[in-house]
């Protein structure tokens, strides 16, 4: 662990930094999750020509608070034949990693809990642990719907981890570092322009990993009730709800850091730029949720293995070759080339993309 990115005049040194940032991150995550819950419900409602929650507080901003109070007063029900210890442990196992991701997210230069030199690897490792919590929930509920939802979640995360990680490697190749801070520092040109295909693959894969629509079939209410949290109520359910939005916030922050230049931007304060970009990414996630219908499990798997995975490999090879042969200092020329490559590859692979040995056309 290197502490190089700490400002040298930081008062108190390591432990004060640690204490302050743990509090700051916890408050930031909780407040932003509350805001996101409200934001998603309002934005989705407006896009569906509705009003959304507007009773609790001005414009309904206190709705998440009211929901929280309601959910805390609910009876905590544990299935009689469920695995009680695992049932109790599952929300915690799911929630803690979602919170731990923010340890390496840089809010601005130096404003980071731990500038790990393997920051992005740490995120990849820790974010998968949430799946264990989800699977524990599905198993412990002693309910076929819960187990089905959890199985789908595990299958999708195992599949989508690969294209996600491969597209992250493209970014790491460009930045020359795994540290989140260094990746932001390297983005004189935002990597969304240098890695348009990587961004697309990462975004689709990330949506699938955090169960957002259109990949939310592990909690598809029309087929398996509520998926893994069917048997959860009260505070445990609230934790799963927080996980869902915490992961959405984490993905927004990671996309911001990896592809949109993190805190960097003209005029405004760095942390404000970071926040604006995070909210923008989250808005796109909500936008996609209102638009695209849920897909089937076979379509989910086919998309991961037949579409995203080969494209991610090709993207990685192209990026590697570009970095080897391209002269330094003229990266701007790569931008149109890479966008053209993305369009050609996506069109080509859409042509090849078939479900079920090609007997069923998409």
């Amino acid at each position: 662990m290197t502490m190089a990115a700490l400002p040298p005049d930081w008062p108190g040194g390591f432990w004060l930094h640690w204490g302050v940032f743990v509090v700051v991150i916890f408050v930031f995550v909780m407040a932003t999750i509350m805001g996101f819950i409200w934001f998603e419900r309002r934005a989705m409602a407006i896009m569906q020509a509705r009003l959304g929650p507007n009773r609790a507080g001005p414009f309904g901003v206190l709705q998440p608070v009211a929901d929280g109070i309601k959910v805390m007063l609910k009876e905590d029900i544990v299935p009689a034949k469920g695995d009680k210890v695992v049932h109790w442990l599952a929300p915690v196992v799911a929630f803690v990693p979602a919170l731990m991701i923010f340890a390496v997210v840089p809010f601005q230069g130096g404003a980071i809990l731990a500038d790990l030199n393997i920051g992005i690897l740490y995120i990849v490792a820790i974010s998968s642990v949430t799946t264990v919590g989800v699977f524990m929930a599905g198993w412990a509920s002693n309910n076929k719907y819960s187990l089905l939802g959890a199985m789908r979640q595990v299958a999708s995360v195992v599949s989508y981890e690969i294209p996600v990680v491969l597209s992250i490697v493209g970014v790491v190749l460009l930045a020359g570092s795994l540290s989140m801070q260094q990746i932001v520092m390297a983005q004189d040109i935002p990597f969304i322009l240098l890695q348009p295909l990587g961004f697309l693959l990462f975004f689709i894969g990330a949506l699938a990993e955090i169960n957002r629509a259109p990949f939310d079939l592990m909690e598809a209410d029309s087929e398996i009730v509520a998926g893994f949290h069917t048997e959860y109520s009260g505070m445990k359910f609230a934790l799963f709800y927080l996980v869902e939005y915490g992961e959405a916030l984490a993905i927004s922050a990671i996309v911001t850091t990896l592809f949109l230049g993190g805190w960097r931007g003209p005029l405004l304060l760095p942390w404000l730029w970071f926040l604006i970009k995070v909210i923008l990414v989250f808005f796109v996630i909500v936008w996609i949720r209102t638009t695209v219908p849920r897909i089937r499990i076979d379509q989910l798997m086919a998309l991961a293995w037949k579409f995203l995975f080969p494209l991610a490999l090709i993207n990685l090879i192209i990026t590697a070759v570009e970095i080897l042969v391209w002269p330094a200092g003229s990266l701007w020329v790569l931008v149109p080339i890479n966008i053209a490559v993305m369009i050609v590859l996506v069109l080509l692979w859409s042509r090849f993309f078939k479900l079920g040995w090609g007997k069923v056309e998409v």
């Binding site: 896009m47 569906q48 509705r50 009003l51 936008w287 638009t291 996506v346 859409s350 998409v362």
Partner: protein, 165 residues
């Protein structure tokens, strides 16, 4: 080559949803905002006109539910029926409007208001005073086009000035 398969379909859908951001919501926030109902609504059970009623009991005979109870007495001096009791158990009323159509003296009307919820079943049984017209219980235009002409036009969810009322 159908471009719907190459991501254009999703792009079209995304443009539809983003355009909805500028659209007015169709929600009517009920207790604060109300829509004008149809002028011929069969709303509040019955509005009864004591002056016009002759006590002929045609309404009670046409009522398929048999919920109209009318008791009359003969007044010798005036040489006509006197309505002693006119009682409707509106809990059983099916709003068919047959009594209104049948009344030969146009003494019965369907109501224009529609908020009929009560806490007790007994409160649904309305008698003479409770059936008279008032500001809250206006007669609707059902089977009475001359009343319909005086009522405000119905507002639809699509109407622009809907939110102001």
């Amino acid at each position: 080559m159908k471009f719907e398969r190459y991501g254009i379909g999703i792009a079209k859908g995304l443009s539809v949803t983003i355009r909805h951001l500028l659209r007015r919501p169709v929600t009517t926030q009920y207790p604060e905002q109300r829509l004008n109902t149809s002028r011929r609504i069969r709303g509040n059970e019955l509005i009864w006109d004591r002056e016009k009623c002759t006590g002929c009991a045609t309404c009670a005979k046409t009522c398929p539910q048999g919920v109209i109870h009318i008791v009359t007495s003969v007044s010798i001096e005036e040489n006509k029926y006197k309505v002693e009791k006119f009682e409707v158990d509106t809990g059983y009323c099916i709003f068919c409007g047959l009594c209104v159509e049948a009344c030969p003296y146009e003494a019965l009307f369907m109501g224009y208001a529609y908020e009929r919820a009560r806490y007790r079943r007994g409160e649904l049984v309305l008698a003479e005073e409770g059936l008279l017209a008032s500001d809250e219980r206006k007669p609707s235009g059902y089977a009475h086009p001359e009343i319909a002409a005086t009522l405000p036009k119905q507002t639809l969810l699509l109407d622009k000035d809907r939110g102001k009322r």
